[in-house]
């Protein structure tokens, strides 16, 4: 099957100007290559600073890569002009890690959720609102909250609002950049279920970026492990979790919190 997203040797360098007098460069992405087929979920796992978020911004066309190419539905976006990218961006949606910063604090919930559709300008006001309310309800936000400011929402509600907002555009690829990491377990599970349902019904492709290997194994078919801007290991989820090859993967596995074996004897019946 033709991959919906193919990344080849993607490289991103940042100029570090403030640290030293001579300009230094920081290699955030170092020839990253992978491919995702439509409707699949790829998890990109790595410790903080490994270049995951840079990769997300590059694929969402929010930052131009320094070198390398990536193809979305056969179109090379690394070489595309800004005017073309503006038309592509709505199809590749990025959910940000910090939901408080991703939503305009002074806007109402409805204004936030409907903004992408207003920008598209294709639908009339009624259709826009109907679709937005449908999606808000889908992620579990009641329609009667729509006029309240986003600042009144809890963290989990905000992240769900951000997801509903991205979904109004019906994107082909949804990139979740640590989107669930800041939430507590029950909310994580709730949102994960909504996402899995959506994937089943709409055939959406997910790029799930996280530092949490167990969460990644739970949601994704395939895992790519990143370390220092490179993909060091890539394979099916079960293989990566059960039988890791690379040290970085083992460290991530070791960092997964587990309950200690109970010091108390098992309850007697």
């Amino acid at each position: 099957m033709e991959p919906i997203l193919k990344v080849e040797n993607l490289t991103k360098r940042y100029a570090k100007r403030n640290s030293a007098r001579t300009p230094q460069e920081f290699l955030a992405l170092d020839s990253v290559s992978f491919a995702v087929s439509a409707g699949a979920t790829l998890a990109i796992v790595g410790e903080s600073g490994s270049g995951k978020s840079t990769l997300a911004s590059c694929i969402a066309c929010l930052e131009p890569p320094t070198a390398g190419n990536f193809w979305f539905e056969g179109r090379n976006l690394a070489q595309s002009a800004e005017s073309e990218l503006r038309k592509i961006r709505p199809q590749i949606q990025l959910i940000f890690p910090d939901s408080a910063s991703a939503l305009s604090p002074r806007w109402s919930i409805l204004d936030i959720a409907v903004e992408p559709l207003v920008l598209q300008g294709k639908l009339g006001r009624k259709e826009r609102n109907a679709r937005t309310f449908f999606l808000l309800e889908r992620v579990g936000l009641a329609a009667d909250m729509a006029e309240r400011p986003a600042a009144e929402l809890s963290g989990g509600q905000r992240q769900r609002l951000a997801i509903a907002r991205a979904l109004t555009l019906d994107p082909k690829i949804l990139i979740l950049d640590e989107a669930l990491s800041a939430l507590d377990c029950s909310v994580q599970a709730q949102i994960a279920n909504v996402l899995l349902e959506l994937q089943a019904s709409r055939g959406m492709t997910f790029l799930f970026i996280t530092h949490d290997l167990t969460m990644a194994a739970h949601l994704a078919d395939e895992i790519a492990v990143m370390s220092r801007g490179r993909i060091v290991e890539q394979g099916p989820s079960t293989k990566i979790v059960r039988n890791p090859d690379h040290d970085a993967t083992r460290q991530l596995l070791a960092a997964v919190p587990r309950l200690p074996r109970s010091p108390w004897p098992a309850a007697q019946p």
Binding site: S57, A60, C61, L62, R86, K87, R89, P90, I92, Q93, L94, F96, D98, S99, A100, S101, A102, L103, S104, P105, R106, E115, P116, L119, Q120, A151, S154, G155, R158, A162, R165, L169, A182
Partner: protein, 351 residues
């Protein structure tokens, strides 16, 4: 007081003060340029309700003044002549708000003149000149601040949003303008113009120079806010929805600058009123006989006036409530924007 009520309070105070000046024609008893040459430097007349014979009057009145025998500039009250205050009388014609022809005055009578704040060297009523002068001084402050902020806003937003070499270039320009000694620059600009210019030209000259020099500071502030706003995730998210630069500036970035602009306006307006007063005091502003607070004060350049006629200081004193109002408003606005920042910060930590 909550901060919203504080802002409303100060707006109310300022609205009242400006309303009085705006309706100067009604509150002023006489035409500000009308002379009464036989009464130069007449001290303010006192309002009475009890006369010399201990009779209570329902209508407040003043006594006419006459020269103290043997002097040429000392006046005493002439208790034989009472001049009752008549309210809502027709008097000198004026134009309300600059265009509505009217004759109605709060008080004052054409023949028996009442000088509540005294007169100047030509016997012109100081109260009327003070009120009309306020129109020029306050309007130049408001207009100057308006121009300054709009220039500063555009340049700051452009520099912050587009960044790169444009930012570098504009910020060097800002530094250059911050370093200019504006008063002497103004002298130089004034020197280019003929000795006598008409009041309207002089007025716009003042505003142009104030705006040309003052835009640098607000530009720098706006640039800082735009720089931080454009890195916020909701701005990047909007770009992800296919938004254009113009849309992002209009809907997401520029609204963030509004609280700084309002605070700056409240700080700049009184500063520019003072600038106008300085210029007119030095004779570079609006020329006589048109009154402005600055050229009313310029009489004080004569030593004899400085030491003898205290009511000539009044234009400076009258500034105080205006300044107080603007500073109160500025601090109330600042407080609210700080609170807004704290709100946002606590929100961020909840996520």
């Amino acid at each position: 007081m909550t901060r919203r009520r504080k802002i409303v309070f100060w707006l109310f105070v300022l609205g009242g003060l400006h309303g009085i000046v705006l309706c100067a024609g009604f509150f002023a008893p006489y035409d500000p340029v009308e002379q009464d040459r036989i009464n130069p430097y007449l001290p303010p007349m006192h309002l009475h309700i009890v006369d010399a014979e201990k009779h209570l009057h329902l209508r407040p009145f003043v006594y006419a003044s006459r020269l103290r025998p043997g002097t040429f500039d000392q006046y005493v009250e002439d208790i034989r002549q009472t001049r009752p205050l008549k309210f809502f009388v027709a008097g000198a014609p004026y134009r309300l708000f600059g265009f509505l022809p009217a004759r109605l005055h709060l008080f004052g009578d054409g023949k028996e003149r009442i000088y509540l704040l005294g007169t100047d060297a030509f016997g012109r009523d100081q109260l009327s000149r003070l009120l009309f002068g306020g129109q020029i001084s306050l309007f130049s402050g408001l207009l100057g601040a308006g121009f300054t902020l709009s220039i500063g806003w555009c340049i700051g937003a452009a520099a912050g949003y587009y960044g790169g070499w444009r930012d570098d270039m504009l910020m060097r320009l800002v530094e250059l303008f911050l370093a200019l000694p504006w008063l002497y620059l103004l002298f130089a600009v004034r020197a280019f113009l003929p000795l006598t210019v008409n009041p309207l030209k002089a007025f716009f000259l003042i505003i142009a120079v104030i705006a040309a020099v003052g835009w640098a500071r607000p530009a720098r502030l706006v640039r800082g806010i735009v720089l931080s706003a454009k890195e916020r995730d909701f701005v990047r998210a909007a770009r992800g929805f296919g938004a254009s630069s113009f849309y992002i500036l209009r809907r997401h970035i520029l609204p963030e600058t509004s609280s700084v602009l309002l605070t700056q306006a409240a700080i700049l307006i009184p500063q520019y009123v003072l600038a106008e007063m300085t210029l007119s005091f030095l004779g570079l502003g609006v020329p006589e006989p048109v009154p402005s607070w600055g050229n009313l004060l310029s009489n004080l350049q004569q030593y004899s006036v400085l030491v003898s006629y205290w009511w000539m200081y009044l234009p400076a004193l009258v500034m105080a409530p205006f300044f107080l109002g603007y500073l109160g408003l500025a601090s109330a606005l600042q407080e609210s924007s700080d609170a807004y920042k704290i709100e946002k910060r606590s929100l961020g930590s909840l996520a």
